[in-house]
Symmetry: D3
Subunit: 136 residues, 6 copies
């Protein structure tokens, strides 16, 4: 099966409005790159969404209490749990850019898989939450 889904064409820099280019420029500046990935180019059909989601990502993924690599690892983990292929591909690339080794990727997937396994057991067995886990 070859799937050609109905999708919006990416808007390239040359064809973008000033409003969209401003976001593309900021993406490239913040990420120290000369390249914008498809997610943003497709989202650009809705410039308000483009700006809002990019501003969110910039704030949430900035260095803070968690280091950038840990944030990318979590992003990959959630994307795997949600089954989003684009997101797995792009954030696996992002995590590698922040230094993720192949051994770390293997361990990450092992943890995600174990979480999926024990989540199923805890839900299926309806395990009562322990008193010790209940204080704020």
């Amino acid at each position: 099966m070859m799937v050609h889904m109905p999708h919006r064409k990416p808007i390239e820099y040359a064809a973008a409005s000033a409003e969209v280019r401003a976001v593309y420029d900021d993406i490239m500046t913040v990420r120290h790159t000369d390249w914008v990935n498809n997610f943003w180019k497709v989202l650009a059909h809705d410039p308000a969404a483009l700006r809002r989601v990019w501003n969110d990502i910039k704030q949430v993924m900035a260095p803070g209490a968690l280091d950038p690599l840990t944030k990318e690892l979590v992003y990959v983990a959630v994307s795997v749990a949600n089954g989003c292929r684009y997101c797995i591909a792009s954030h696996t690339a992002g995590a590698r850019r922040h230094g993720m080794s192949e051994a770390q990727l293997s361990e990450l997937l092992a943890v995600v898989a174990m979480a999926n396994q024990t989540n199923a057991l805890a839900s299926g067995l309806d395990v009562e939450v322990d008193a010790r886990f209940q204080q704020a």
Copy 2:
């Protein structure tokens, strides 16, 4: 609504078989604690599963290419994505035990929430995976 689900009673140490006690002992030794949480006590109705899942968890969560705190953060992230209340409670406690601060928890949830947000956009817009993300 007060929900009293049909569930298996936790098997306490005093009532456990030698086979089950051996796993409980190993849990307490590995975790440097004198306490076993309900997940294992409920799983203990199936001693083979108890041993298998504990051995998996012990191997997967052991120090390795990823540090233990990062592993617990990933575990919480996947549990949130899966909506498993027991797992969120127990692994949030686990992450705190490994040093997670409240600021780190806030950031973690922000990353999970953003991943959920952009996962939906990438799936809904069917964004094509970029060539640059495609080489192993």
Copy 3:
């Protein structure tokens, strides 16, 4: 936390319309019981949905190429994967009524948990579907 969600009150037999009673009667006849569970009593606020969903369930869960116990086991498995507490509770009861033993429940949950684990690995590693799995 005690959660009292906004919910529609179950419509008891005595208070039900003739249209709703007809479905309740059919449920009790098909299931050889004198009792209707809350799912149907809440769905009864929308009599057309009550009839449609019951007719579907009656057709899908009837004896056929798969035996009734296998069908209940599959129902439990999907409900666990979806994290639906009511559905886990009611179909675990249904599976027990069709003869599920505690050993079978343990094995069922182990299979569900393993499926969740390997699903995560296959998605995260983006394993290519083998040629041998590709012919119809």
Copy 4:
């Protein structure tokens, strides 16, 4: 990666049984079209399922308290949340047929993405349901 999954071949009208053709005819009549999409042609290997699911869809998607466009928008939203590519493609087409504009699609995806984001925060923080939300 080119994926050729093991799948049942669509059953074309010319090759269909009278029972299956009756459903195809009804689909084309209700939808004012001369075309049946693959979902139904693949489901047709199980004529009872074909009839049951089509009757459900016909009843549920018929004009009622919600207008048809709203119903299609909801269908797309759930399909995005479930990550079902076929369903996203076919119901995005359906929503367009009922008049969805590109601006409405953009807003729809933004709402789905925000729901995914706040769902993750509400679950991860285990926010207690407010008393005001609790009366029926």
Copy 5:
């Protein structure tokens, strides 16, 4: 089973910082109410997240190409698909505030349930996306 999860206490208006109060004030102004629900009061432990998520919600849920009721219906639909109880409770209340009738709620849930049903069939049967659904 009574579940008392480990959770952050809601921050009431009287105890809130000026930064948090400014967001609470904006929530009450935009929603024409004198009340802030728990989601925001718990999120307030992270003032930057509080402001960001509220700004997102305000922008995304504002009147636009889709009317406010449709947006709330979509929000409920996704929350049901995700199984998030708080979100179902709060956005069902929100939809009622925007005029959702009980008949509309019934139809909404019927559409969500049908989408979940056909999503499973389309995924399980791996239905090929029709050529007609593939042009942008």
Copy 6:
């Protein structure tokens, strides 16, 4: 859209280490086949994970209180609920190898689809768990 995801190349038997070959040999022995599917060959980049997951699968899928076909049916059901294409493809093949007929596959998917439907209704309506379902 042709998706070429970033993925690890399968490690063929000829190129595998002794440690990996030992697992491949065991897979072929247990399954009475001369062939190893891609899942294991990709997982083989992490020999510890390869051994652990295979040992789990071998134990969980072995004959026991549930017969092997029932276990494969449950595996397919969960994989459909999770939307994992590789897993649907490989375990549908596995179920056929254990004797699943096309009629059984049709019924299986009908049960999964109904579970997905009623799960959504039970969650959306927040149906209270019946007292009769609450004793262990």
